[in-house]
């Protein structure tokens, strides 16, 4: 075990961890968004999908078991991602304690410079989102099992919808920098491939945030309800 801790001291190694866990989280947000598109198919389809999640891995796993395996994996990924994020941010601040009087950014982007803040917004959002639509703790009228109902009622509040929209804009920026960055961190580059990985990042950042933002907007405008 000691050698893992030794490695973990390295910032280069922490970036592998960020990249691999970021890739896992990306896989999750992509599937999550895709699944939620079922909301456009109506209550039956949507509730059926939510129930179906519990049947994943069926002949091997029992009801809801595989879902917990996935959740555990995600939780570990989130934990490692956040741990590395704060360790790297601290390390990077210490490596450049003084700022320039005149600062002119060259190739860095708004997205690349705000990764930690975008991450923190997403983190706060995820905590709220779980209490809202998974556990129902902060939901006005939560009916366990009636996912469609919880979804529609949840988004009828413009304030709550506004927060979902804001968080997904932040997620979009995080993905815009993160999704090509992970290839670089793992050393997956190449002169033809570099252009492609940027396009990949733009495409998936847009698809994920736009689709996620469409849900509260669809409820607020009455397209779903």
């Amino acid at each position: 075990m000691g050698w893992i801790l030794d490695l973990y001291r390295s910032a280069v190694f922490k970036k592998y961890v960020m990249a691999v866990t970021g890739m896992m989280l990306f896989g999750f947000v992509l599937s999550h968004m895709t699944g939620n598109l079922k909301a456009y198919a109506g209550p039956e389809e949507f509730n059926h999908y939510a129930e179906g999640l519990r049947e994943l891995g069926k002949p091997i796993f029992g009801h809801g078991q595989f879902l917990w395996v996935m959740r555990t994996g995600l939780l570990i990924a989130v934990g490692l991602h956040i741990w590395s994020a704060f360790a790297l941010s601290k390390h990077n601040r210490e490596a450049r304690p003084e700022r320039y009087v005149r600062e002119r950014h060259q190739k860095s982007t708004y997205a690349s410079r705000t990764m930690i803040w975008g991450g923190v917004i997403v983190l706060l959002f995820v905590v709220y989102h779980l209490l809202h639509l998974t556990f129902g703790t902060v939901h006005a009228d939560f009916i366990p099992g009636d996912v469609y109902h919880n979804f529609v009622v949840g988004f009828q509040s413009p304030v709550i919808s506004g927060f979902y929209i804001l968080a997904n804009v932040a997620l979009g920026f995080h993905l815009y920098h993160g999704l090509w960055s992970m290839f670089q961190s793992l050393g997956w580059n190449g002169s033809r491939f570099n252009d492609l990985r940027k396009k990949f990042a733009v495409a998936f950042a847009l698809v994920i945030s736009v689709a996620n933002i469409s849900f509260p907007i669809a409820v607020l405008t009455g397209a779903i309800g």
């Binding site: 390295s10 210490e94 450049r96 320039y100 009087v101 190739k107 860095s108 997956w188």
Partner: protein
């Protein structure tokens, strides 16, 4: 010297002045009068310094040596950009024609925890030397010299090694990086020998040792901002960073550990 423009210009300079490593510093404003557009940026500073000396004041300290863009000594931040506004250029090769009469120019030393300020615009870049000593070598047999061109080197590898070898160690990459990271420098030094057949025996140990030394010196981590690539006077590509990340991962998988002593001789503390 064709196209000599005759009109001189006057600039207002804001320069970081700091008398020694331990003392505090501040931005001080100077007038740079009658600057010829044909002067280099360093020549402009020479003129300012001559007038400072005439008036009995301490001249502005800055590093320089070759003044032809190959030694890497002349680093300074000019208006927030390492080596100033012209891409692919060192400060000594930056000409005043890229400025206009009446411009205000902010001149600051490289900022990074691993590059402490020695005086004014001069910083201590010896951390770079220690990274190079950690892995910048290859093994050769002693005895009679081998025949030239005995080892075939594919053209693409030779070109890549040459691109990496173009690094002059000026430190602009570190200075421009919001994380004070030295990935572009270190990765160029890793690749310089690492892509050549002669560099293969130490390939994995080299990347392990150079990365270890880089981190021990207090440089930051890479957030893929790519600020370094934008200001590198030799336009070295961040592809070398990806290559270093890949090799470091492989070296790790091969169970390589840093050589004894590597990463311990931190000079700047």
């Amino acid at each position: 010297m064709g196209g000599t423009s005759s009109a001189t210009m006057n600039l207002k300079l804001h320069v970081w002045r700091q008398s020694g490593p331990q003392s505090g510093g501040e931005m001080v404003t100077y007038e740079a009068r009658d600057v010829s557009p044909d002067m280099s940026f360093l020549e402009m500073l020479d003129v300012v310094n001559e007038r400072l000396i005439e008036a009995g004041n301490e001249p502005i300290a800055f590093d320089h040596d070759c003044r032809e863009g190959i030694c890497g000594m002349c680093g300074m931040m000019i208006n927030g950009v390492a080596h100033g506004p012209e891409g692919g250029t060192t400060t000594c090769q930056l000409h005043m024609r890229h400025f206009e009469d009446g411009d205000e120019v902010w001149i600051e030393p490289w900022r990074s925890a691993a590059f402490p300020v020695v005086k004014d615009l001069v910083v201590d870049r010896s951390a770079f030397d220690r990274i190079v000593s950690a892995g910048g070598y290859i093994s050769v047999n002693t005895g009679s010299a081998p025949d030239a061109n005995e080892i075939p080197v594919p053209k693409v590898d030779a070109d890549q090694a040459f691109d990496a070898a173009a690094c002059i160690g000026c430190g602009a990459c570190v200075a421009q990086c919001p994380n004070g990271a030295a990935q572009l420098f270190t990765s160029a030094k890793v690749a310089h020998l690492g892509v050549l057949p002669q560099g293969q025996p130490e390939r994995w140990q080299r990347v392990m040792d150079m990365v270890t030394q880089m981190e021990a010196e207090g440089f930051g981590g890479c957030s893929n901002h790519y600020e370094c690539e934008a200001v590198c006077p030799k336009e070295i590509s961040t592809d070398f960073i990806a290559r270093m990340n890949r090799d470091y991962l492989k070296a790790t998988a091969k169970g390589r550990k840093a050589s004894p002593g590597t990463g311990q001789s931190i000079g700047n503390g």
